[in-house]
């Protein structure tokens, strides 16, 4: 018997605080595998957001920095510009990136900062227990949309990947999902490509939008949650490569 799948080195072997069925654990693993496969642990700096993944540095064994809500792309700019040979990635949720951090991601992409952004879209504010996010779907019930999101007062769900794809400084944008094992494998390929571009010195920003289940935030079971990603989220956020 030989081992065909085991935990990769850069993913620390410890329990996580994430809810059962949360997509963060899967996404963290894919990033860790990418870092190990590319052999870049020694020169990678990761940026943890404010959100459920604020403690990402407890799970990913690379130099990491925890920053203010939404500011990761600006911090990444400061790090990458002064350390161009290091591999810089930010890991952000939908509140962090698309709400309070909207200006920062827009301008980092606009300037073409040579960084990799992993954008975890779970259509809700998870850590603060379930408020509306910019990516919340129409009709979706959250603690701040108890009657469901309405376009008139709340706007439509924000399609970050489409928005950023317009910018010349954004060189690779792809949206993928974690709703089943096949999609997880595809997401791994996308994340790996986004890192490879930075390793190769590509001149521009890569962003991977990952549709992710949030069973606790959506008040669903994990299996219901992945079904909701597959059936509902992919309608509002179509999967596929938007740029690059």
């Amino acid at each position: 018997m030989k081992t065909v799948f085991k935990r990769t080195k850069t993913l620390k072997d410890c329990p996580t605080h994430y809810c059962p069925g949360c997509g963060h654990g899967i996404a963290h693993r894919l990033i860790a595998e990418t870092i190990d496969e590319l052999g870049i642990r020694g020169r990678t700096i990761g940026i943890a957001p404010v959100g459920c993944a604020v403690l990402a540095y407890d799970y990913l064994d690379v130099d990491m920095i925890e920053v203010a809500h939404g500011r990761a792309p600006a911090v990444a700019t400061g790090i990458k510009r002064t350390n161009p040979d290091m591999i810089i990635f930010s890991y952000q949720g939908d509140g962090d990136l698309a709400s309070i951090g909207a200006a920062e991601i827009l301008h980092a992409a606009h300037r073409g900062e040579q960084i990799t952004v992993i954008f975890i879209n779970n259509a809700v504010y998870g850590m603060t227990s379930g408020q509306m996010a910019p990516t919340t779907l129409l009709g979706q019930i959250t603690t701040t949309t108890p009657l469901g999101r309405e376009a008139d007062s709340h706007g439509h769900p924000l399609q970050v990947s489409e928005l950023l794809a317009v910018l010349p400084g954004a060189i690779y944008i792809e949206r993928c999902s974690l709703h089943n094992a096949a999609q997880v494998r595809k997401t791994k390929k996308v994340i790996r490509h986004a890192f490879e571009l930075q390793v190769a010195g590509a001149k521009g920003l890569s962003l991977v939008e990952v549709l992710s289940p949030c069973p606790a935030g959506w008040r669903m079971t994990p299996t219901e949650a992945v079904k909701w990603v597959e059936n509902e989220m992919t309608k509002a956020f179509p999967l596929g490569r938007l740029k690059g």
Binding site: K2, V4, P15, Y18, P20, A181
Partner: protein, 114 residues
């Protein structure tokens, strides 16, 4: 079968994603909780007499979807090479001659109690 999974049941949070991901329906939720109060996933007991294997093919879909990364997957070294004379619980025998390469020879089922 060719594969085997090892689940760290004390780290499992019982999300059940591996259960629905397994193409062989070889994972179930345990009826006994772990120390954290979760009901962890565990491999389905073997359908092949006299072995510790399940129907697991070592595809690793469970490990790929596991949010806690606590499933290790192992596979027979000679995967792809047919295995000789496995006796199944239902009485059938998976009789395979390793030397023969033709598809017709790969599998012959004999009924009855063997």
């Amino acid at each position: 079968m060719a594969g085997k999974i090892i689940i760290d049941t004390e780290r499992c949070k019982g999300c059940g994603l591996c259960v629905v991901s397994c193409p062989q329906n070889s994972i179930v939720i345990s009826e006994k909780s772990n120390k954290n109060g979760y009901f962890p996933a565990q491999p389905v007991p073997s359908v092949v007499e006299g072995t510790n294997n399940t129907d697991c093919t070592g595809c690793a879909m469970c490990a790929v979807i596991c949010p806690e990364a606590i499933i290790e997957v192992q596979c027979d070294d000679n995967i792809g090479t047919p295995l000789p004379n496995k006796k199944l619980k239902n009485g059938n025998i998976l009789a395979i001659e390793p030397e023969k390469k033709s598809k017709a020879d790969l599998l012959s089922l004999k009924g009855g109690t063997g």
